[in-house]
């Protein structure tokens, strides 16, 4: 502010004469200043994101001791292994069903929160968002304890209904279910918040018009709410698809891929092979298989984000 106050002395005297060069100077300064301001960002992304990303392409073509170039040998090896196809299948089941249930539960809960008087909404929203706030590594520990083979609190409760002890993390199918359940528990609040924000932006007049036309609640959701929320549903789902597909914490802590690799997904299997099995090139090849799905999702997200930008 001091400069602003001082300025009139200097500028006032030679205002007309100085205008042109000082403008050019500002422009010149502007681009240099802008470049300097973004330089740390560019260095960070270049050195610690782009370089490793391309480096992993190179890594994937080396043999285990990383001394010999073997071309696509790692990929050939993976395609022949049964575990690899199991991981592919599980990753897809895991990501698709988890995202589907997260989106569905988020949608339903957002409607319930939207339904109740505005005064109480804050409290409910606050409670329902707690799963998203707790670090997933910490909350998965609580789930691990809830699923404990001998002390499971769920089995204790279910035994009153005559339902026999369930091997939550011991049986392959139940383990897959448990992993998905924890992921849904963790991720649904995010959908709920996003949908709630977008529900609030749907103009009330549209519902009134639909009601006058005799639309029932289902028609109002189908013809008013869903089209108005289409964009946000698409973006949220794609975001969540990326995050869920690349998930590591939950599977790692809950089952560590077991029983017998039946819950491994790309990230946990890549960790098992690359870090624990110290076959870095093979681990890098495994994680590279996430790229196509991530790229497709990213392209769609980008398209939607740009579209929203243009509309605004």
């Amino acid at each position: 502010m001091a400069e602003v106050a001082l300025q009139p002395h200097g500028v006032g005297a030679t205002q007309a004469g100085r205008k042109r060069p000082s403008l050019r100077k500002t422009l010149k300064r502007k681009s240099t200043a802008a470049f300097l301001m973004t330089l740390p960002l560019i260095i960070l992304i270049g050195l610690l994101v782009l370089y490793p990303a391309f480096y992993s392409l190179h890594l994937a073509t080396l043999n285990k001791s990383m001394q010999r170039f073997i071309g696509l040998g790692n990929f050939e090896f993976l395609f022949k292994r049964e575990t690899f196809w199991l991981v592919v299948k599980q990753s897809c089941i895991f990501a698709i069903s988890a995202v589907l249930f997260k989106a569905l539960i988020g949608f339903i809960v957002a409607h319930f929160v939207h339904n109740i008087p505005a005064k109480g909404q804050r409290k409910w929203r606050g409670m329902l968002l707690v799963p998203w706030v707790i670090p997933p590594a910490m909350s998965t520990l609580a789930w691990l304890w809830l699923f404990d083979p001998s002390y499971s609190a769920f089995n204790y409760t279910l035994s009153f209904f005559g339902i026999g002890p369930i091997a939550w993390t011991g049986d392959a199918d139940w383990a897959r279910f448990s992993v998905i359940l924890v992921n849904v528990w963790y991720g649904a609040p995010f959908f709920m918040i996003m949908y709630l924000a977008s529900l609030k932006s749907v103009p009330e007049q549209l519902y009134e018009a639909a009601a006058i036309d005799g639309a029932n609640w289902w028609q109002r959701i189908w013809y008013v709410t869903l089209p108005m929320m289409r964009n946000i549903i698409a973006i949220t789902t794609l975001f969540s698809l990326i995050v869920t597909f690349a998930n590591f914490d939950i599977v790692r802590i809950l089952t560590a891929g077991g029983p017998l690799d039946h819950t491994h997904i790309f990230a946990t299997w890549a960790f098992r092979i690359g870090i624990e099995g110290s076959d870095i090139p093979l681990g890098a090849s495994v994680s590279l298989f996430m790229v196509p799905i991530l790229a497709i999702a990213a392209v769609f997200i980008l398209r939607d984000v740009n579209k929203r930008g243009n509309e605004a």
């Binding site: 500002t26 681009s31 610690l48 990303a53 968002l129 002390y151 994680s287 984000v305």
Partner: protein, 303 residues
């Protein structure tokens, strides 16, 4: 819905009004009923953490009703908060998070300002690139990054692997892109007249940023800070890969690798540790919920 019913049976208007409000009450009751169910579903794990953390090992292994504490005790809390190892994890986590938040804001606020206001060659591409970087997950980069840091250690003799400060270099790759992205959104929503006025008054670009943009976009900065803190506090994969010695571990990895010893699970202490690890984000959330939610929704809604 209710209006439609009224139209059909106009003569019995008063009765229909009654049914309309009855419909509404029932819809409300159902809403509350299901919300309660979902709230229970959401809160069971954290509440169960709390219940277990108050039990002694003897009570846990006695397998009494798991949902109730018969002899509440603080021995787990006392045990952990007097253990140097656990305090070390907590300290490492706090140190890493605070440094990462500072670094993130120092990098992303000027960059977002430049990208939102000072159009220069390639700025639009760079903004899109920042957004794409945000979509690259940690599980794609941990293996090449591990190798890159191992090579760096071989070339320069500076050993970064298994040092807690290596996380200061890695975490910003997770926090900076998102924070830059939401700050671009916040800065872009500030009216152009404001900075034009400042420039005309003779303020430099740097002054425009510190005197006008940062104060005006304070809610966005708080939201970005909260985001950066939660991400660095909760990150699990990178510290698991990059740190192994017990004195270098951060909280989530520390709890999992040291409290789980082989097949012996000391669940009372594990749950206490998990609860203490979840406490900082929960406390921030409790006090700054609106900023937290603003940050959450801004990522996808700010175009």
């Amino acid at each position: 819905m209710s209006t439609a019913t009224i139209d059909k049976a106009a003569p019995t208007r008063t009765v229909k009004y009654g049914s309309m409000s009855r419909d509404r009450t029932w819809a409300l009751r159902w809403s509350y009923f299901f919300l309660t169910l979902f709230a229970i579903f959401s809160l069971v794990p954290p509440i169960y953490m709390l219940i277990t953390s108050l039990k002694s090992s003897a009570e846990i292994s006695a397998a009494t009703n798991p949902w109730w504490v018969f002899h509440p005790t603080l021995e787990n809390y006392i045990g952990l908060l007097t253990s140097n190892q656990f305090l070390r994890f907590f300290w490492n986590s706090a140190l890493v998070s605070i440094f990462v938040v500072t670094l993130t804001m120092l990098i992303s606020v000027p960059a977002a300002f430049a990208l939102a206001r000072m159009r220069f060659w390639g700025s639009a591409t760079l903004a899109t690139g920042v957004f794409l970087t945000y979509l690259i997950p940690d599980s794609l980069l941990f293996i090449p990054l591990f190798k890159v840091f191992a090579m760096f250690g071989d070339w320069t003799g500076i050993q970064l692997i298994n040092r807690w400060y290596v996380l200061l270099l890695i975490y910003p790759t997770l926090t900076v892109p998102f924070c830059t992205w939401i700050m671009i959104g916040y800065f872009a929503s500030i009216p152009k007249e404001l900075d034009e006025a400042a420039i005309i008054d003779g303020a430099s670009w740097f002054q425009t940023l510190t005197r006008i943009f940062i104060p005006v976009a304070m809610p966005g900065i708080i939201a970005a800070t909260i985001f950066a803190f939660t991400v660095s506090w909760a990150q699990f994969l990178y510290p698991l890969v990059f740190t192994t010695s017990t004195d270098q571990l951060v909280l989530p990895v520390g709890i999992i690798t040291t409290l789980i010893k082989g097949d012996v699970f000391n669940w009372g202490q594990i749950m206490t540790g998990a609860l203490l690890g979840a406490a900082p984000p929960l406390i921030i959330y409790a006090f700054l919920m609106d900023y937290y939610i603003a940050g959450l929704t801004a990522g996808a809604t700010k175009g």
